[in-house]
Amino acid sequence: MRTTVIVTALGLDSHGLLAQVATTIAEQDANVDDVSQTVANGMFTMIMFVSFDETETTMSSLKAALEATGERIGLQISVQHENIFKFMHRI
């Protein structure tokens, strides 16, 4: 069964941020299902829907890899299972 997580990245804008996050996800063998990105007043905001199954990667491995990338390129990156967003705002 595929797991879908939502990756959010926030921080000061610079060149190539989306590419570096996407590269880390590809290296983890996970798939980017959807992405949206904006820059407002120099602040970079990106939301990615990422999916994987157990043969590809794990939550903890993906999370560790993305957090390391975030630290390197100056972004706060969160990786959370989609259910928390589905659950929080609606019944």
Binding site: I6, T8, S36, Q76, E82, K86, F87, M88, H89, R90
Partner: protein, 454 residues
């Protein structure tokens, strides 16, 4: 397919990253009725074994959920059938031995606290109740993770004033025995009226006799999230403010519901309750007092504080109850002085008195909670304070509790550092007027008219 908007995603992430949103506690309730034994030593062994067997995976499961959803789960705890109902006899030393077994089990499975070193004495004492209460000072002062509570009153039974007086002596003894650590033992002991049987918060958590074999109860948190919403709407009318708070606590509670469902499934336990309490921590921004200040009070304790708290507490419940059908526990805003930095500051500045806190108790959750009083307070003054809080609970058919800390050797105005989530607070002044003749009468304050509901 549930559609999630970008705004909702960023709001959730912001709540966790910037506003201290967390799940305050996942508490596993375990029935100990099958651990009873005539031999207290054997009972202690069986209790230890059952806690380790049933809650052995609690911390691991909570950590997995934390990683999966990116929501911190601050405390992992176990609540138990009140020990006085499980272990019989009249030897206090046997109860101390049981407390050590609880502590050892808690350490073994890596949880923060274990609650249920408790007795229900609202109508009178069994031999076991009396022995357990006598054992509390030694049991709590010689363990790290054991929490104790004693229910001395209820709307149905009235107030057992003999128990109130006895508990004041127990608190004083515990204060003495833990004097080296600013009397911290008293932070692990609550005196209750109408104790809930499914409360996930310490120090008062226990697993009541009507509860299932094993359950998972979840305590939400989120004062920082609520404060942020209030602060960003300075022009909102009170009706609009109540709506904003309801919307926010709905979201916070949904997270609690998700965690409770998942944790109970993973632990093969029945899903218990979601406790809708807003619980502060000493961290800046994680404060009930700051919510009230954002509503427009200069400091907590200002005239209007009780009204503001009533609005907050009611809106929290209304928002939360839409989000889950499993409400329970204490479910109300907490006002612990030492655990809420802005509350402690208001006390130190003279803006907040014990009498005002007592009034606030009438409209919110726990009661006189984490209040530091002079170490040399007469036992009867302490008993009178407890009785007053119990009376508010009894008459209003609600839970109230007293967690009072006579700081050994300290005077009014001196600060006491309890550490960690217990925080720090100034010693507060208590009326010096006497009450000896009233307390000497003994016996029970009868159940009020409100008890006759059938």
């Amino acid at each position: 397919m549930v559609f999630i908007t970008e705004q909702e995603i960023l709001e959730t992430v912001g709540m966790i990253r910037s506003e201290n949103l967390d799940v305050r506690a996942v508490t596993m309730g375990i029935s100990l009725f099958d651990c009873s034994d005539r031999d207290p030593h054997r009972a202690a062994e069986r209790i230890h074994a059952k806690i380790v067997q049933r809650a052995g995976r609690l911390v691991k499961v909570a950590d997995e959920i934390e990683e999966k959803y990116g929501i911190p789960i601050v405390n992992k705890r176990v609540s138990l059938t009140p020990i006085a109902q499980v272990v019989g006899g009249d030897d206090p030393a046997a109860y101390v031995e049981v407390a050590h077994a609880l502590d050892a089990a808690a350490e073994e499975i890596g949880i923060d606290f274990v609650g249920g070193f408790s007795a229900m004495v609202q109508k009178g004492f069994t031999r076991g109740d009396a022995a357990l209460i006598e054992a509390i000072p030694e049991a709590i002062s010689s363990t790290q993770r054991v929490c104790s509570s004693v229910n001395v009153a209820s709307t149905r039974a009235g107030i057992n004033m003999d128990a109130v007086v006895r508990m004041a002596d127990v608190i004083k003894a515990l204060s003495r025995l833990t004097a080296a650590n600013d009397s911290i033992g008293c932070a692990k002991l609550v005196v209750f009226c109408n104790v809930p049987e499914d409360n996930p918060f310490m120090a008062g958590a226990l697993h009541g006799s009507g509860e299932p074999e094993v359950s998972v109860n979840v305590a939400i948190s989120g004062p920082g999230v609520v404060r942020n919403v209030v602060e960003h709407h300075p022009e909102a009318s009170l009706i609009e403010l109540a709506d904003l708070i309801k919307r926010t606590t709905f979201k916070i509670t949904r997270v609690g519901e998700l965690v409770a469902r998942e944790a109970s499934q993973m632990l093969h336990a029945q899903m218990g309750i979601i406790d809708l309490s807003l619980a502060p921590t000493p961290a800046v921004g994680d404060s009930i007092a700051e919510i009230l200040m954002s509503m427009g009070l200069e400091q907590v304790g200002a005239p209007g504080t009780t009204a503001a708290l009533a609005l907050l507490n009611d809106a929290v419940k209304k928002g939360g109850t839409m989000a889950t059908s499993s409400t329970g526990g204490l479910s109300g805003a907490f006002i612990p002085v030492s655990e809420d930095a802005a509350m402690a500051k208001a006390a130190a500045d003279g803006a907040l008195s014990i009498e005002k806190l007592e009034a606030m108790t009438a409209v919110c959750s726990l009661g006189l909670d984490m209040i530091v009083v002079p170490g040399d307070i007469p036992s009867n003054s302490l008993a009178g304070m407890i009785a007053d809080v119990m009376a508010i609970g009894m008459i209003n058919s609600k839970t109230t509790g007293a967690r009072l800390i006579p700081a050994y050797g300290k005077k009014v105005g001196e600060w006491v550092k309890l550490g960690g989530l217990f925080g720090e607070a100034p010693v507060m002044a208590v009326s010096q007027a006497g009450n000896d003749a009233f307390l000497r009468r003994g016996g029970r304050i009868p159940a009020p008219l409100q008890s006759l509901t059938n």
